[in-house]
């Protein structure tokens, strides 16, 4: 998932809050208002019944009297009196428009000539009031408004408490959504990091295989001129032999002087052939690196392979005072070409020996371990050698990249090993820290064991 600047952290937090917690708060607020509404209605009902009873029993006849009775019951109320034709006759509210507005609000909810209780939609304690509407037949209507505070003395306190609870909940949920979104954000960033790493690896391997192709092309082109050079050197050598035969017929002095020259020429031609063959070995190595197919993959017991390679390289390691150690814990065979695996192991272990020999530390060890997982067989070659800097590590599988002295290494061993590993559907990777040593891991696919070999 891609995080654009629009999908920023803050926006993520807001979304989580709005989607997750917003609806809950709205529900909560609506429920509270309904409950409060009912409470106020109940609280005002006795006063209305009392007023209606008085009117019924004709104990009060005028709106003025009803208003006085009500103000004895519920002091400090606001009141508006209407005559029978709905004209406002008197009020303790000064503003005429406000009087009319209040009456309209009560009528809108309850109808014109019915005695009723009006509770506002959002009964918030400080300002809103509950209105009693008492209709006195023949005299008119009394609108008597009491503040919620005087109707329910604990209302302001309860409201404050609710408000405190509400805000602490709000704060907690915003805080949580920020924490949660930062967690999500971090996860996404991690994911992205992982993907970038993978892409990097892919680019790396593509770059390597492109390099391999170029190198193989060059090697192929060089092969023919190389063959001609070696053959021409051989030809000159043969001509020299003829000359030597003729020189044998000459007198002793000239034979002696010519003989010395001939020997030198012969040495020089041998060197030409030798170096030419060395070039040929390099081009063959390069071509092998790029060649596809023609490998016969079988089940390969990597433990046996490691033992073979250790056996082959043990003398060299002992000469250099290097200790070999191995732990063979691969329980399943790999599916690969055994020749390739052997070549890779030889290259990598040889390299490890050279790296350890070049190191100055006290420990001189090469540890080879094999183990297997469900899908792969791994061979790890760890050395206590010089290690690799990050730059070296990035380039170590490039063809012709070498840290060894000229003539000591071609810089092909590891790049050939890398491409061989890839051709066997495996991989060769390296972990290293400068001065402490390196660890190469060859990963190979597990052989499919869907049949049992005949016993």
């Amino acid at each position: 998932m891609y995080i654009s600047s629009h999908n920023s952290f803050r926006w993520l937090a807001t979304r989580i809050f709005l989607i997750g917690i917003g609806p809950l708060f709205i529900l909560f607020a609506v429920l509270c208002s309904r409950v409060m509404h009912n409470f106020l209605d109940d609280a005002a009902t006795p006063a209305l019944r009392y007023a209606l009873a008085l009117v019924e029993k004709k104990e009060v006849r005028t709106t003025q009297e009803v208003k006085e009775q009500l103000s004895m019951l519920l002091p400090e109320g606001r009141w508006i009196l209407q005559d029978d034709s709905q004209h406002i006759t008197s009020s303790n509210i000064d503003d005429v428009q406000e009087q009319q507005r209040l009456i309209d609000t009560v009528h809108k909810q309850n109808g014109d000539h019915a005695s009723s209780i009006y509770v506002p939609m959002w009964p918030l304690p400080p300002n809103s009031s509950v209105w009693l509407h008492v209709y006195v037949p023949g005299a008119g209507s009394v609108f008597y408004g009491v503040s919620i505070e005087s109707l329910l003395p604990g209302a302001t306190f309860s409201f404050g408490l609710c408000l405190t609870l509400f805000f602490s909940l709000l704060f907690t949920s915003i805080f949580n959504s920020i924490i949660f979104s930062s967690f999500v954000h971090e996860k996404l960033a991690q994911e992205r990091g992982l993907r970038e790493k993978l892409e990097q690896k892919l680019i790396e391997s593509n770059r390597l295989s492109a390099q391999t192709r170029v190198v193989a092309g060059i090697a192929h082109e060089i092969n023919t001129p190389l063959a001609i050079m070696i053959q021409e050197a051989g030809w000159v050598k043969e001509l020299l032999e003829d000359l030597q035969e003729q020189a044998d017929l000459l007198d002793k002095d000239s034979r002696k002087s010519l003989g010395a020259t001939f020997t030198e020429m012969n040495t020089s031609l041998n060197m030409m052939q030798k170096q030419g063959k060395r070039c040929a070995d390099i081009t063959h190595g390069l071509l092998r690196m790029s060649r596809k197919g023609a490998e016969n993959k079988t089940e390969v017991d990597v433990n046996v392979m490691v033992q073979d390679v250790v056996h082959l390289l043990q003398p060299k390691a002992l000469d250099l005072g290097i200790e070999f150690k191995w732990q063979l814990n691969a329980f399943v065979p790999a599916y690969a070409s055994s020749g390739h695996v052997q070549q890779i192991l030889m290259n990598v272990v040889n390299n490890a020996i050279d790296a350890v020999a070049a190191a100055e530390g006290e420990e001189h060890k090469v540890i080879i371990s094999t183990f297997s997982t469900k899908h792969s067989v791994l061979i790890r070659i760890t050395d206590t050698g010089v290690g690799l800097s990050l730059e070296l590590k990035n380039r170590i599988f490039e063809p012709f990249f070498t840290t060894k002295a000229a003539g000591k290494g071609t810089g092909l061993g590891l790049s050939i090993s890398h491409s061989l590993a890839r051709r066997n559907n495996g991989s060769l990777s390296v972990e290293s820290s400068p001065g402490k040593g390196s660890s190469f891991t060859l990963t190979l696919p597990v052989a499919e064991v869907d049949y049992l070999p005949a016993l």
């Binding site: 023919t224 001609i228 053959q231 021409e232 051989g234 060649r291």
Partner: protein, 127 residues
Amino acid sequence: MEDLKILLVDDEPDFLSVIARRLARRNVAVSVASSGMEALEKLKADPVKVVVLDVKMPGIDGIETLRRIKEMMPDVEVIMLTGHADLDVAISGMALGAYDYLLKPADIDELMFKVHDAASVHNSHSS
């Protein structure tokens, strides 16, 4: 040793020249051709026992040349000469009836050895 005559086919004239010289020194008569078509014509005009054939050539390649030679004269022995990259091709050439194959750059003594082998196989065919 009886005179042995072979046909050498390669698109690289310098390579042809040096191999021809070195084989001539070893009492092998060499006629050369620098393409598959030329090789077929020369073979028709002047049959030889052994053909040394480069796999990678412009025009009709080594494999195609091999097929035509074998159609025309099944008795002729063919040694394939190949760069490493064409090893698979050389192996498939074996399936088409080539006698053997050699990796470039080939050692001249190895080539001689194989040419003589091929010639003796040819002789046993014709006798």
